[in-house]
Symmetry: C2
Subunit: 421 residues, 2 copies
């Protein structure tokens, strides 16, 4: 953590930034590396590992989901494209340092200086922290104004999402010009990263909304067991895995022929805050719950099958009826019913203070998915779900956002540099 | 988790409850035990351990703090003392089962039945879950009405807290008739416990407010390193440790001579939601931050000393000034300045969605402390802090609650039974 490194004393801020970039330059291919810095608190020994920030793809998409999320959206307050570029440069250097488990600014520093690093992650190590950045549609034009001269570079795929039946979206907790997705094995490390990046944004951008999450709700690697969401069901059994390179290219990573060359190797992130309405759900019988989802609750097997990973058989019947009801969630979300389209889900559970006076738990799923083209993937799937999904009686979509996540960056570059090239 | 236990099938709910009580009866003295049930997700091997629920003291006070909190306060909606007693009986049996890492109701159950256990903790094991229950002042009388015939049994020590200078308390997120403090090594396990207990309360009590927390902010055992709060400072270095039996008896556990015999062996819980005002704090120099707290930021040493555990020397000077400024937090909170009084701190960090439009992070400390007598311990300390603490420029108390936590319970009994004896 640089604590004992007296040579760090007196480094200028710019010097510290350059040091961060150099640090990242020494590591290249194998994305998960033991953290050379930091010391363990004891509880999560191997969680000190770090995930390499630099590379042709951004981390935090195909890399395995760790246990905690801190997601933040920002509004750019400066009208200057130079300020925007400078912010992205600073964020890039900070992200490389933070994800390596180092302090963004070495300590001890001069006593009279204001610490750039806020300090609450000191001693925690890397905790597999990833930082994933994205650009919202409003960055390319808002209320008809081409704020940064980028209107001509907006990808067609970055079209604001349509409204969906039954949703109840809070605009103050939706959208944004920029986003940062921080994932880590420790919630304080994820919080800290957003805290540091928010400080760096000062004068150029301001925090619009944020969301903490826990207990990854999808497996994104073959090595991970399928977790349960807050409804008690295994979620994400048939998710795309980061190791499925062909599926990742086909469904997640933007290809050169897709247009908007600066996005090739990137992807589109959709976030939906989905509140679970536990009062009705918790009063539903076990069989009723299983028919809503289309899976057995304990094992996670598709109805009509025995094991979690048994193939979903939409034709299977039970007592003359479809084993998986016609309005079951997994039937309507199935690639079979969506032109073979798949998405990479990478969401987290959330839990917030009870609404005063309601007596109701405010908790659910902060759904995040990545895809190559929202118009061909998320939008038709969600239209179908919004129209007919049995789960709609038990959930409410309360926030929504779409971001273009550019490809990764090599040392010396900055996130989204292709957009300004 | 009883998944393979076909003999559990067809058990009535009351039968399952009786089974839960019997399960608890087999274990007695050593409070932390390997969990006999549950299987690991892999990430937190030894976190499957359980902490014994039954005993002469409630768990979750002197037992070491795990990493996560889910706190809930309830209002009793029934006017019947019988309903209140029955709720406490049900909660006791459920708590014994939940803290043992078992499902509250065995699964599989009849398909047409509504599951009592909501299922989201299946497979997680015990995760050192503790459940600690308390009674608010309003249970003993509200607006002059003696709701349950308990007015005569209210301990003098359970007097509502006075207002403190500078606080900005939201009544909707404060107080309550009953409280449950769930602590665990996994946030989903803590959430699940509150979820199940909320369901059991249906018809008798309703959720008033809840608060999730992470990253215990105090050491409560000599075995734990001192964690950092979200201001980046080590917090709780000089806390009472659960192993300090003499200090626990003197400062935490209610003694028989204190009056209100039903509370002997219990304690009083105070919760304060303390928001950190990062905009000013983050712009303060390192030295300025250290002078607010009275400790070095990196090491955690008291100013004027070298190591974290060096004794706080309030007389030490530096350049003719007190090394620890006259308004420093640790000086004003010191037992030296508070008639030798100490309290057991056992709080957690919290982080919530950004206030729309504010651009400010809403995060801080969900402070929890336990003491033998709030009037002689918390109240004078907090009065002194509210008047003069340099930390007041950087924090805002936004919620407050006080609960009487009765002593522990043996199998066959129920939490708070002495109150009804």
């Amino acid at each position: 953590m640089g604590e004992g490194d007296s040579s760090a004393k007196g480094l200028t801020r710019r010097g510290a930034l350059a040091g961060a970039a150099l640090f990242g330059a020494g590591v290249a291919f194998d994305r998960v590396l033991p953290s050379g810095e930091g010391k363990s608190d004891g509880a999560q020994g191997d969680a000190l590992e770090r995930v390499e920030f630099y590379g042709s793809r951004q981390a935090g998409i195909a890399t395995p989901s760790p246990e905690f999320l801190h997601f933040a959206a920002f509004d750019v307050t400066s009208g200057s494209a130079d300020d925007l570029r400078e912010l992205l440069r600073e964020w890039t250097l900070a992200a490389a340092k933070l994800t390596a488990g180092g302090e963004y600014q070495p300590t001890p520093l001069e006593a009279e200086a204001v610490p750039t690093d806020t300090g609450e992650a000191l001693g925690h190590g890397a905790q597999r922290l990833t930082l994933t950045f994205g650009f919202g549609p409003s960055l390319f034009g808002l209320d008809g104004a081409d704020r940064f001269g980028l209107a001509g570079r907006r990808p067609v795929a970055l079209t604001p999402l349509p409204r969906f039946t039954g949703e109840s979206i809070d605009p103050a907790r939706s959208d944004g010009d920029l986003c940062v997705q921080a994932c880590a094995e420790n919630p304080q490390v994820a919080f800290h990263a957003v805290h540091v990046l928010s400080r760096l944004a000062s004068g150029a951008a301001t925090l619009r909304w944020s969301q903490a999450g826990f207990g990854r709700t999808s497996s994104t690697s073959r090595d991970q067991p399928t977790p349960r969401n807050l409804m008690g069901f295994k979620d994400g059994t048939n998710n795309i895995r980061g190791e499925e390179e062909e599926a990742m290219e086909r469904f997640v990573w933007v290809q050169p022929q897709d247009g908007s060359a600066w996005m090739a190797g990137g992807t589109y992130l959709i976030a939906r805050r989905i509140r679970m309405l536990f009062d009705v759900w918790d009063g539903t019988s076990l069989e009723g719950q299983e028919r809503v989802i289309g899976r057995d609750k304990v094992e996670g097997a598709p109805l009509g099958q025995r094991e979690e990973y048994d193939a979903v058989d939409l034709e299977a019947s039970r007592g003359g009826e479809p084993a998986i009801p016609t309005d079951a969630h997994i039937r309507l979300a199935s690639p079979h019913n969506n032109d073979g389209q798949r998405i990479l889900r990478r969401g987290y559970s959330y839990s917030e203070p009870t609404d005063p006076g309601s007596g109701q738990i405010d908790a659910g799923l902060f759904f995040i998915c990545f895809q190559r083209d929202p118009e061909r993937q998320f939008v038709p799937i969600q239209r179908r779900l919004a129209a007919s999904d049995a789960l709609n009686r038990h959930t409410l979509h309360t926030a929504s956002a779409l971001f273009a996540c550019p490809p990764g960056v090599e040392p010396g570059g900055f996130i989204g540099e292709g957009l300004f090239a």
